[in-house]
Structure formats: structure tokens, C-alpha cells
């Protein structure tokens, strides 16, 4: 594999054999988490996801193997100090019921001996970051909804600004709508803070949406595949992976990639001031029955071939307005829907109000074929 990134967490041959268990819970696991990226651990229940996560912060001691965090052997460091540099969001939230929200968030800063002003400032900032109301700071955890509690759990883990974050099904206990918005918040957050995150989830769609790389594990703590979301969908390593990611792999890939990932081109488009001869030449060259008109970067609409007459400017011809538009950050799935419902069979890319080019089904298909070099999720 290429070493163009710095690895923040490296597991090398990590095995956990619980006392009395016939088979290891995690078996000779190798895993590399690049700094500033999100790696999702996913797999069926009991496959060792939580065990793996807890070995990273040494809540569980590995039976054998090496764990390095930012180049330092985690097993050589005092566990208590190690953990203060690793934010931990546990699956069942685990807020302290006897502490207010503000006190919960301040747990690690207080342990580290921050002064009160700094703690207050940090707490206020975090509450905003995770989208909670300041009025909640003085409440007790039981006075918050499940989704709100999970946000507090995330804020508490982030409090001392740890470079590494371990999240065990952080959005497991909330309904799909709240989960979606918490996922979006995590993505926004990651844009701002660039943590190294290991995220455990049961939900393949959550992994595909949030992770830079996905580690798909199987019962017995075996790593079946470790790949980017697009690679996992495009090229599943075996039947287990194929079954786990589901049947609608193509639709999922289309959902992951955006228009910006495709090398879309200008398409059959001419300037409004072009001659009818030029317009027909463009249509002939691209095999299109339609020609688009642009005027100083703006898209004016489509003109149907038979409506192009030699005896006047192109702008005299009747135009279909470009209803079929997508943005650069639209998913390819959205682009495909738009193309399917467009008379011209192309979608116009709106690049921040300017004409950015066109895309066709053929381009999307070619993009799927080429994989992550073109569709970099």
C-alpha cells in the first residue's frame, strides 16, 4: 500500500483471547488508521468490533500483538495517560447521571487541571459545535432526550481536544432522522477538526457515508476487507463482503460519488453568438439532437436541431429552459434521476451559477467502470 499518509493508529497482529473462550474474539488483526481520517469498523454482532476499539485505549489488554498510536507503543504507556489523549464515545453513552451536562463535558479538562475560565469557554464552544442549546448546560443527563445525550457524549469525548477519537455506535440509540442529522454534524465537525476517528457501527450505510476506509470484520475477529467505501462496493473481496454490503451496490456507489468526481465535459454547447453552421457541426460531432447555448458563462437553454435555421441568429430559435440541472456536489444518483427525466438526456452542471458542463448516463457508467481513480469517494 502507498505510504503517502501518516498513520495515527497501527494495529499489528493484535489478538484477544478471553479467558475461557474457545476461539479468539479478535484474531491477528492488522489495521492502519491514517491521521485525520475516519475508519469504520463494521461486521456482524459479536465479531469483535467493541473489543478492537477497547484494545486501542486499553480498556481491554490484548493477548498478543502491537498497538501504536502516533508512533508510540500504546502498551508501554500508562493506561490512564493514554486515555486522556483519546476521546471515547461509548455505545451506551454513559453520561454521569449525577453531573450536569456542563460538568459531564468538563470531565477530562478538569482532570487535566484546566482553570475554570478555560473550561467554561471550551464547554460553551463544544455545546455549539454539537448543536445543543446553552440552556441545557445546567441540566442533568436524564433531563435530555436520547439524541441530545449522544451529542453530549460526543462533546465530552472532544473536550480536551484529543487527536484520536474512538466512537462505539455513537448514533445507535436514536431514530433514523436524528441519526441522519447527527451523521451530518459529525461530517461537518470532521471538516473543522480533522480528528483520527475509529467508528464502530452496525449500519453499512452509516459506514459508507462517514468513513474514509471501512474495515469489514467477520465472527472470530477476522478482517475480511479493508478498503475505501467505493472499493468495497466496486470490488468486494469475497462472498461474505458482497452479502454484507447488500445487493444494491451500484446504487450505493452512485449515492456516494458526486458530480465533481466525474470528468464532465462541455458537451454539445456553443456560444449564443455562434453561427447555425457551427451549431450543426457541434451536434453532428457529438451525435446529439440538441445544442445548448451559453452566454458569458450562463446557460440559456437547449435548441432542438430541426429548429436551427440558417436565416437568423441561434437565439431566434425556440429554447427549452435547462430544468435538468445538477450541482457539482450532487450525488451521481441524483444526476442519474435528472438525466432520466430530461428530454435532452443530459444534465447541465451548475457550477456556482455558471455553466460547468454536461453529464450523460454514458459518462456515469464509464465512471463506475473506472472506479476510485475517477470516483474518489
Amino acid at each position: 500500500m502507498e505510504e503517502s499518509y501518516t498513520t495515527a493508529i497501527r494495529l499489528h497482529g493484535v489478538t484477544k483471547q478471553f479467558d475461557g473462550a474457545s476461539a479468539p474474539a479478535v484474531d491477528a488483526l492488522d489495521l492502519e488508521v491514517p491521521a485525520g481520517s475516519i475508519v469504520a469498523l463494521i461486521g456482524p454482532s459479536g465479531c469483535g468490533k467493541t473489543t478492537t476499539l477497547r484494545m486501542i485505549n486499553r480498556l481491554i489488554e490484548p493477548t498478543s500483538g502491537r498497538i501504536e498510536i502516533n508512533g508510540v507503543d500504546a502498551l508501554e504507556q500508562p493506561a490512564v495517560e493514554l486515555r486522556r489523549d483519546i476521546g471515547y464515545v461509548i455505545q451506551q453513552v454513559g453520561l454521569f447521571p449525577h453531573r450536569t451536562i456542563a460538568q459531564n463535558i468538563a470531565t477530562v479538562p478538569r482532570t487535566l487541571g484546566w482553570d475554570n475560565d478555560r473550561i467554561r469557554e471550551r464547554t460553551a464552544g463544544l455545546v455549539e459545535l454539537v448543536g445543543l442549546d446553552h440552556a441545557m448546560l445546567d441540566r442533568y443527563p436524564d433531563e435530555l432526550s436520547g439524541g441530545q445525550q449522544q451529542r453530549v457524549g460526543v462533546a465530552r469525548a472532544l473536550a480536551a481536544d484529543p487527536p484520536v477519537l474512538l466512537m462505539d455506535e455513537p448514533f445507535g440509540a436514536v431514530d433514523p432522522i436524528v441519526r441522519g442529522s447527527l451523521q451530518n454534524e459529525l461530517m461537518d465537525l470532521q471538516q473543522q477538526v480533522h480528528k483520527t476517528i475509529v467508528l464502530v457501527t452496525h449500519d453499512i450505510d452509516e459506514a459508507l457515508k462517514l468513513a474514509d476506509r471501512i474495515a469489514l470484520m467477520n465472527v472470530g475477529g477476522v478482517l475480511e476487507q479493508f478498503a475505501s467505501p467505493d472499493e468495497l462496493l466496486r470490488d468486494p473481496a469475497n462472498e461474505f463482503v458482497e452479502r454484507f454490503v447488500g445487493e444494491d451496490r451500484v446504487m450505493k456507489r452512485l449515492q456516494l460519488a458526486t458530480v465533481a468526481d466525474l470528468p464532465f465535459h462541455q458537451g454539445p454547447v456553443v456560444a449564443a453568438s455562434a453561427t447555425p453552421v457551427e451549431a450543426r457541426e457541434v451536434m453532428r460531432a457529438s451525435g446529439s439532437a440538441w445544442v445548448g447555448l451559453t452566454d458569458r458563462g450562463a446557460f440559456l437553454g437547449w435548441v432542438h436541431g430541426p429548429d436551427v435555421h440558417d436565416d437568423g441568429p441561434l437565439t431566434d430559435a425556440p429554447r427549452s429552459l435547462p430544468a435538468a440541472q445538477v450541482g457539482r456536489d450532487s450525488t451521481l444518483r441524483r444526476a442519474m434521476e435528472i438525466i432520466m427525466t430530461s428530454r435532452t438526456s443530459v444534465a447541465v452542471v451548475d457550477d456556482g451559477g455558471r455553466f460547468g458542463g454536461v453529464i450523460t448516463l454514458e459518462q456515469i457508467r464509464a465512471g463506475l467502470d473506472q472506479g476510485p481513480e475517477v470516483i474518489a469517494a
Binding site: 454513559g94 454521569f96 482532570t111 442533568y140 436524564d142
Partner: protein, 225 residues
């Protein structure tokens, strides 16, 4: 058991006794309180050690709870009578040792239950955030165990206040001495005073401890408001 039908011509309750013997009543009340506080405090220290052992070494839990259970079944009068020749009737130990033994069952049970009621995920979170074991026990587990521990202290205190009166049989026992004194002399007034005051003391301590435990655990009341 107040003998209501006194043969003598005395009135059932002589109010002047309250004023004339106030010093003696006050001393009895004070001693009652002292014996109670001493016994519950000693019981708490012992129970904390026993409960810590039981929580730390799982296999000791059953022996420890059985042992405190057996202590609780011993007849109190017999214990006071047995210890009197050893320490002397007026020794504080003669009263406090049995009283302490009786607090152990409720205190040990509630301390263990209190710590066991701390949710596993809360402990995991505390460890995961790098709290030292001592910090975790003192700042997370103890506060969360405290509603049950405080409830145990309340019950132990109130039942000890009742049991102290029995120590009147060896001439100690605070208000209990007034009760026995009256019974021996077939004079109802001190008996009634001893009984009423010990009931009032129990009610008062119960209310005080309840208020204190509420004040110490604000999260238990506001939760799910």
C-alpha cells in the same frame, strides 16, 4: 407496654415531672443520641470495609452477608446481658458493641447494592476518559451509590434509636433508662416520657436524614421531571 391501670391514686401523667426532672431527661436524650451516633458511625466504618471486601473479592459476598444476617438475628437483650460482665454495665462498649452489630446487615447490604447500582457504561466511560481508579470510585461511583447508602444509614439510625432503649436493661440506654425506671417503680410518667421522646427522636432523625440525603442527591429528584 405502658401499664395504664395503675393501682395508686397517682395521676396517669404528672406534668411537673417534665420540669422538675428536666436535667435528667436532657441527659438521657443526649446519651440516647450519643449511643446512636456512635453505633451507626462504628457500623458504617465496619460495613464500608466489609462491603469493599465483598465488592472486590466476589466470593466473599455470600459469607459476609450471611455473617451480618446471623448477627442481626441474635436477641439484643441477651447480648447486652452477656457483655455486661465482660466490660461492666456502665461501659459504653457494652451498649455500643451489640448496637453496632445490628447495624451491619442493613449497612453492608445497602452499600453493596449502592455500588452495584452504578451502571456499567458509566464506569466504562469513567475509565475510558482516563480517571484513575481512586478518582472513579470517589467522584463517580460513591455519589451514584449514595442514595442507597444514605437510605441504609437512615434505616440503621432509626432502628438503632429503638434498640438503644433496650440497653436500659443494663442501666444505660438513654431514654430507655427512664422507661425501665418507671416500670420498676410503677410510676408511669418517666416511662411515657422515655417512650414518647424516643419515638420523637426517631421521627426527627428520619426527617433530618431524609432532607440531608435529598440535598446531597439533587439529580435524583430533577430526573425525568
Amino acid at each position: 407496654m405502658i401499664p395504664v391501670l395503675a393501682q395508686s391514686a397517682q395521676p396517669f401523667f404528672r406534668w411537673s415531672y417534665l420540669i422538675d426532672e428536666w436535667d435528667q431527661i436532657q441527659a438521657a436524650l443526649l446519651q440516647h443520641l450519643q449511643l446512636t451516633v456512635l453505633s451507626v458511625a462504628a457500623g458504617l466504618v465496619l460495613s464500608a470495609m466489609l462491603a469493599a471486601t465483598a465488592l472486590r473479592y466476589r466470593w466473599t459476598t455470600t459469607p459476609i452477608t450471611s455473617f451480618t444476617g446471623i448477627l442481626y438475628t441474635l436477641p439484643s437483650v441477651a447480648l447486652f446481658a452477656l457483655l455486661a460482665p465482660v466490660f461492666g454495665t456502665q461501659a459504653v462498649a457494652t451498649a455500643v458493641i451489640p448496637l453496632t452489630m445490628f447495624t451491619l446487615l442493613i449497612l453492608v447490604t445497602n452499600i453493596i447494592a449502592g455500588f452495584q447500582s452504578v451502571p456499567g457504561p458509566v464506569k466504562d466511560a469513567a475509565n475510558g476518559m482516563g480517571l484513575t481508579p481512586t478518582a472513579r470510585v470517589l467522584t463517580v461511583e460513591l455519589p451514584l451509590a449514595s442514595p442507597l447508602i444514605l437510605a441504609g444509614i437512615r434505616i440503621a439510625t432509626v432502628s438503632t434509636i429503638g434498640l438503644v432503649t433496650v440497653a436500659g436493661i443494663i442501666g444505660q440506654g438513654g431514654l430507655g433508662r427512664l422507661i425501665f425506671d418507671g416500670l420498676n417503680r410503677r410510676f408511669d410518667t418517666p416511662t411515657i416520657i422515655g417512650a414518647v421522646f424516643s419515638i420523637l427522636l426517631a421521627l426527627l432523625m428520619d426527617a433530618l436524614l431524609l432532607a440531608a440525603s435529598r440535598a446531597a442527591t439533587p439529580w435524583t429528584r430533577r430526573a425525568r421531571a
